[in-house]
């Protein structure tokens, strides 16, 4: 049973979750299936590209962030999916051997007008590289069940 509900996301809260080592093998496997561009498949082509080395597909980095969200809190939460992502910035490439972590900031929390059993949480998600720089920055909305439906109208 989930133990994290909409009420548990407090505006302004910042938390860091998990760690994920991105291997060369996984970068190439993901790119082979979904993003078969040379800079995601081959070291020499990566070096010659704007990225400066074999680097993970941006879509791969989004998927890695999703996994860190799942393991960090979403699998314990009464999550009901996401209507979408306002913006994603791929700020720095992720290279083989990088160990990334997830930083989550709760930007906004509001109840659903049409579904009194649901609340919406706007999150800023950042994938941090070992030196602390931000590789990926994303703002998205996630729906959660309410622990006490109808108790508060935000």
């Amino acid at each position: 049973m989930p133990d994290i509900f909409w009420e548990d996301f407090v505006e302004g809260e910042v938390k860091t979750f998990g760690s994920y080592e991105v291997t060369e093998e996984e970068i190439i496997a993901f790119a082979s299936e979904f993003d078969a561009q040379p800079m995601h498949l081959d070291a020499a082509a990566g070096k010659a590209s704007m990225l400066g080395g074999l680097a993970a597909s941006g879509w791969h980095t989004c998927a890695i962030m999703m996994r860190l969200m799942c393991d960090g809190f979403l699998l314990r939460a009464a999550g009901q999916g996401s209507p979408g992502v306002t913006e994603t910035k791929w700020r720095e490439p992720i290279f083989p051997g990088d160990v990334v972590t997830l930083r989550r900031t709760v930007l906004q929390s509001r109840s659903s007008k049409s579904r009194p059993d649901l609340g919406l949480v706007t999150l800023k998600l950042e994938l941090l590289k070992p030196a602390g720089s931000v590789a990926l920055e994303q703002e998205c909305v996630v729906l959660f069940n309410r622990r006490n439906p109808g108790a508060r109208l935000a």
């Binding site: 993901f30 299936e33 979904f34 993003d35 078969a36 561009q37 800079m39 590209s49 704007m50 990225l51 597909s57 941006g58 879509w59 791969h60 989004c62 998927a63 890695i64 999703m66 996994r67 799942c70 979403l74 699998l75 999550g79 009901q80 999916g81 996401s82 209507p83 979408g84 992502v85 306002t86 913006e87 994603t88 910035k89 791929w90 490439p93 729906l143």
Partner: protein, 157 residues
């Protein structure tokens, strides 16, 4: 893809059509998004979605798969005509990605891209920034997924 200066705002391409099988939905979700409604059919029936459906990132990454295949097709056509092939750079990101409807096991999604705006950054005179509107539409003609992409495209041969 064509060189930046050849692309006209409004150009639209159908990239390809993909059938999302139950097995590949579960395989992707086990790796990257193991929420119950993406990995467990019984749990999915009880969820807000009502049946097993693909991770939104699976839907998005599959758009990229067909975009790359389209790029490879156009590159091969240009090579066969003896004309140069543009380099497309990395993307700084995207905006307004929406998962409008679930993509269920067995759904057939047609992906498309449409050129919306062309920017010429002064800092990179050899490159243009193409803003495109991208979509996924299911077998019933319902828009299930869209987003606005940004990508660097080489300006001239």
């Amino acid at each position: 893809m064509n060189f930046f200066d050849e692309i006209q705002v409004g150009d639209r391409e159908i990239l390809g059509t993909h059938t999302f099988t139950r097995d590949e939905i579960v395989a992707f979700a086990r790796k990257y998004d193991p929420q119950p409604f993406h990995v467990d059919e019984e749990a999915a029936k009880r969820s807000i979605f009502g049946a097993l459906c693909a991770s939104g990132w699976h839907t998005a990454a599959t758009w990229m798969k067909y975009f790359v295949a389209y790029q490879q097709r156009t590159a091969a056509e240009r090579i066969s005509k003896g004309i140069p092939v543009p380099v497309t750079g990395p993307s700084p990101g995207f905006k307004n990605l929406r998962w409008l409807k679930p993509v269920y096991a067995g759904d057939v999604i047609t992906y498309a891209t449409e050129a919306r705006e062309k920017l010429t950054p002064k800092s990179r005179p050899d490159w243009g920034m193409l803003i495109a509107y991208n979509t996924g539409t299911n077998q019933d003609g319902v828009l299930v997924f869209d987003f606005e992409s940004r990508v660097f495209v080489q300006r001239h041969p």
